[in-house]
Subunit: 407 residues, 2 copies
Amino acid sequence: MSSQPLLPLGFRYSAISAGIRKDGRIDVALIAAERPATVAALFTRNLVRAAPVLVAAERAARGLASAVLVNSGNANACTGEPGLAAARDTSAAVARALGVAPEQVLPASTGVIGALLPAAKICDKAEALVAALSPAAHEDFAQAICTTDRWKKVASRRIGDAATGPVVLAMAKGAGMIHPDLGLLRPGTEQVAGVPHATMLAFLLTDAQVSRETLERALIAATNVTFNACSVDGDTSTNDTVIAMASGANSTAVTEAALTVALTEVCDELARSMARDGEGAEHLAVIEVRGLADDAAARQIAKTVATSSLVKTALFGQDANWGRLLAAAGRAGVAFDPSRARISIGNERIVHDGLAVGAEAEARAAKVLAADSYVVRLELGDGPGVAHYYTCDFGHGYVDVNAGYRS
Amino acid sequence: MSSQPLLPLGFRYSAISAGIRKDGRIDVALIAAERPATVAALFTRNLVRAAPVLVAAERAARGLASAVLVNSGNANACTGEPGLAAARDTSAAVARALGVAPEQVLPASTGVIGALLPAAKICDKAEALVAALSPAAHEDFAQAICTTDRWKKVASRRIGDAATGPVVLAMAKGAGMIHPDLGLLRPGTEQVAGVPHATMLAFLLTDAQVSRETLERALIAATNVTFNACSVDGDTSTNDTVIAMASGANSTAVTEAALTVALTEVCDELARSMARDGEGAEHLAVIEVRGLADDAAARQIAKTVATSSLVKTALFGQDANWGRLLAAAGRAGVAFDPSRARISIGNERIVHDGLAVGAEAEARAAKVLAADSYVVRLELGDGPGVAHYYTCDFGHGYVDVNAGYRS
């Protein structure tokens, strides 16, 4: 999205083709920190976790890392012990080439589930990957991690107000099996899937000097309202991974608040881009729910509406079909009074106190649905609970991508 | 499905066109009992309930009813007080023509949400509808209640072993917004939606002599493992209704067990037909989950797999994509050990102890997916918990039906 992103000091990037993908596109990518960086990482809460998730979660728990090694074309999920060995072998090969300990390299993978990662292909390219490292090759990295994405996803922000202050650069990929449910995978933290979500991968790099605890809190806060509120198809991947690394190379002090704002802004830009780039999608729909007893109730409704096949096919058809919106809200398992419901698409109110405003309002709302992005707002009472969810329309493109994905 | 169903004594049927549908097809249908019949009824637990659901639930609670009045082409949902008046007025007009009290007539509707039911059109036809009643017109009834259904759904069974014993005749409709979550809508009973589900309507008629309590228990037992385990698109309708009526016209004694078996068999036949006839669907997929701690856990996984867009598009593509099956199971919020998972399609085992059996097995399994119907079996441990869910593939047909439904 950004052609000239802000680049944090202390990181280099590279990407090459190792022949993991059949089409010969670049498919292995590396981020390397000049010295061990502070790390915080969140991983899928799907009970079925890919080998790189298990390996990276264990390593990230140490709080310091030097590199992230990512491949597309193969998820290395449901591959058992050989899969774990493949994740360890490939990251060890890169660690050797970098001259760091294997535990300093965090692996991540995306692609087909169930096929063993051809580790030798990556190991053979480890030296070349490291030799190619450059502080300006972030775009290559962002391209290499893409699978069904139609565009690269890059965002950046300066943290705080200082003109020479630290920055954050974020790169991510979608575009299917997207319904992230990310959490800490650390002993003693909550691990069971709460909600459904694709493989999304996101990497946030900053040159700020921050503690691991601060980075982790800011990352969790940013993720919960962005990636964890984003759905293409309601299917949570086995591989979802968000890794934040702080090099500390810029010594300008930043507050946790400023860090949280910057991380949230870049994650928000990427989550919107991810939903907009959902497989086959033509629109970004922001489902906004207001007036519930609390945010959790609002979020449950927003998620149910955002993942409804009938709602999403109506959005594809540019049909302001509020009956489907209200019916989806009604099955979310949350109490509200349907006779008080108000629904708007963009600025067009189409339901007032549970009843249709009229055919003309719906016709105007249908025109809003032709836009690249729009807000669908459900006001369901006068409680303080609010939430949003990013989703997309659901049409023939999604079926085309997913009915023949492995062939 | 059955060209010569068994017909219970004591009921007559009719159907006419009242001009509710734009295409001029028959759209209003009536079942009339010769004398007040014992009634049990289950309704959608969606928080948003159509006017006919509210009216029928109140009337069914009395335990006796003489008639069921159904229209297609308009759901009479989200229509407020005028909608309630339309449901009462239309059933009152039919009650007058039948010579019974208005409370003896249970209304049901299916069609577009949010448009006021043109009650006058139905009231004008009330006399004609009653005049057309015939004990042999059940096929007309079954046709009139269809919306996007490609075929009528009729099933019948004899209850118990006696050759001249009572029978049950069941008629239903699908085919979208199908994910029934049916329960008693009676004060003091559970009313909040627990799970997502189309408008499905089903009417079960028997000439057995049974108490209302027995009929209700048998209906709940039958519904929970059939209609409530059936999903086309995961969207629970505002109008889902199952009504059972017992005329008592056949005095051969039946046991509750025999009644439950017969109701379950007809509901099972209709639920399978409904999933197979899901909008745009080409296959009935029976998702069978085994080996969990209890049936509720197995059911939660079966439901999550049955409603996964990625699983359903893979079934459309006839791709034995077990990675998507396992990933969906893993986000159901239920504990199991993925490394022990076994997955079969038909008799083809494709996953053993969490790992792929191999490309040849997947190729054989893909051939099974070409069949009209098949079983997808996930064995996830050695616990006693089992459950099944009926679902269908998800392809271009569904998008075509639902992207332009109201236009």
